[in-house]
Subunit: 270 residues, 2 copies
């Protein structure tokens, strides 16, 4: 099954485009849970019927030597809930052999279904990932952080047109990197006009949309501007607003409440 | 001691700007060495009087779950040869808490002296690193790979001037991110005209120059275009040409021969 078909299956599985970011910070959860794996497991078990994907952010594991907890988390999801996608949020970006090794890290070592990739070094950093035909490659395009415009929104000029850096990256995604139909792009929820603009340029490429919840993106605006005519077209991520819905022993129960609210609110507008 | 002073000390220590990239591939070395750590240790012991820095590329460790070998390698260098800098080549780039965690990964977990950073997400991805005043932050500017121009050399325009994306990143490095005097930039050796141009814009910011050796950059051209009027101004990296000088049990002896040739050739032109 190619990646777009797998994504379609994941969307239909729970009638959801919601992705929960597993940004479990050991410094926060240590007061009420014994390991990141236990925390993730409880979040997953409490929300597995509400999401299309989980997105572990690898820095929480890499910073403290907790790679084994990440391996166990992904193994748990893929064993117990195989239709739900795992997006490894590692934003790796390098070239040649190094980029091939990062693809091995994401797809072979951690067994993720998709991975986020930084395109600053060009095709050399993307193609070692897109070669894995059944896996998803989610390219940073326009991100949700305050300083995202410093590089991404620079106006570029060539002979025939004027556009921004992130539009050039979208061009590369659509016209150069997507021959295996496994490219998606990161489009921040905090940039609603840009969501609509990018969607007008491509009805096919799925968006991974961070910035809903703690970062302040409005769900109605996001969905109305990002949905496609053909399918759901987006994966909407929320991390802290769900996993830290309460910072106490009831965290999983409260995560479920917020996840369900978020999934249902999104579905109102699709 | 601030980072620029530490770099100056490292340059003087062995009268060298040579950096050896520790890109030890377990798939290659397993035929003649028992672990990456043993391989690195032998390379280091054979070349420690010829270099200013070692640069382990983290993907070789992350791909196969060999993080412990990387920790041991850096610990070995910092214990035995404390004046030699360790550059962790991880090219991380993320925002907020995540970026802070990647700084913890580089500086606290692995105890590297410097780290490479991808600037595509803007200041949010650089500032969590530059806060560590005695550590170096090496920002990707113009890289040495074939597709580096796809994004980095896009021509941008604003009201007053026309320049390229990588020049805007250099501007941010010089004017916004360098208040702690700990910024360096990656400038590929395969782009000699660009080396000269960037050097004309800043006599202060050190260059990390990959692409000499296996990637084909010419040493005389590189040094003549990258050196500064005040100090050495550059860290020239070579990885495979040195560590795989011979792929057999004599690898360390042969690595030393090539490292010495390279260091001496560089010094001819400084």
């Amino acid at each position: 099954m190619n990646f777009y078909d797998r994504l379609d299956t994941a969307w239909k599985f729970n009638n959801s485009v919601l992705c929960i970011g597993l940004d479990a910070d050991i410094e926060i959860i240590k007061d009420y849970e014994k390991s990141i794996f236990e925390f993730n497991k409880n979040i997953i078990d409490a929300t597995h019927d509400l999401v299309c994907a989980y997105k572990p952010q690898i820095s929480y594991y890499n910073a403290y030597g907790l790679e084994r907890e990440l391996e166990m988390t992904i193994e748990y999801i893929k064993t117990k809930y195989p239709d739900i996608l795992v997006i490894l949020d590692s934003k790796r970006g390098d070239i040649g052999k190094t980029s091939e090794l990062y693809a091995i890290e994401a797809y072979d070592r951690y067994k993720a279904d998709c991975v986020t990739v930084n395109p600053y070094m060009g095709s050399d950093s993307v193609e070692p990932f897109t070669r894995y035909k059944d896996k998803g490659v989610i390219v940073l395009c326009k991100t949700s952080n305050p300083s995202s415009s410093e590089i991404q929104s620079l106006r570029i000029k060539n002979e025939t047109e004027e556009k921004k850096v992130y539009e050039e990256i979208l061009d590369l995604c659509i016209n150069k990197w997507n021959s295996n139909k496994n490219i998606a792009v990161v489009m921040g929820a905090t940039q609603v006009e840009e969501l609509a603009h990018i969607r007008s340029l491509s009805d096919e490429v799925p968006f991974l949309i961070p910035g809903v919840g703690a970062q302040g993106g409005d769900i109605e605006d996001v969905v109305n501007n990002a949905k496609t005519s053909k399918n759901k077209g987006m994966i909407i991520n929320s991390s802290r607003a769900i996993i830290y819905a309460s910072k106490d022993v009831d965290y999983a129960k409260n995560a479920r409440i917020i996840a369900k609210q978020t999934r249902d609110e999104i579905n109102q507008y699709i």
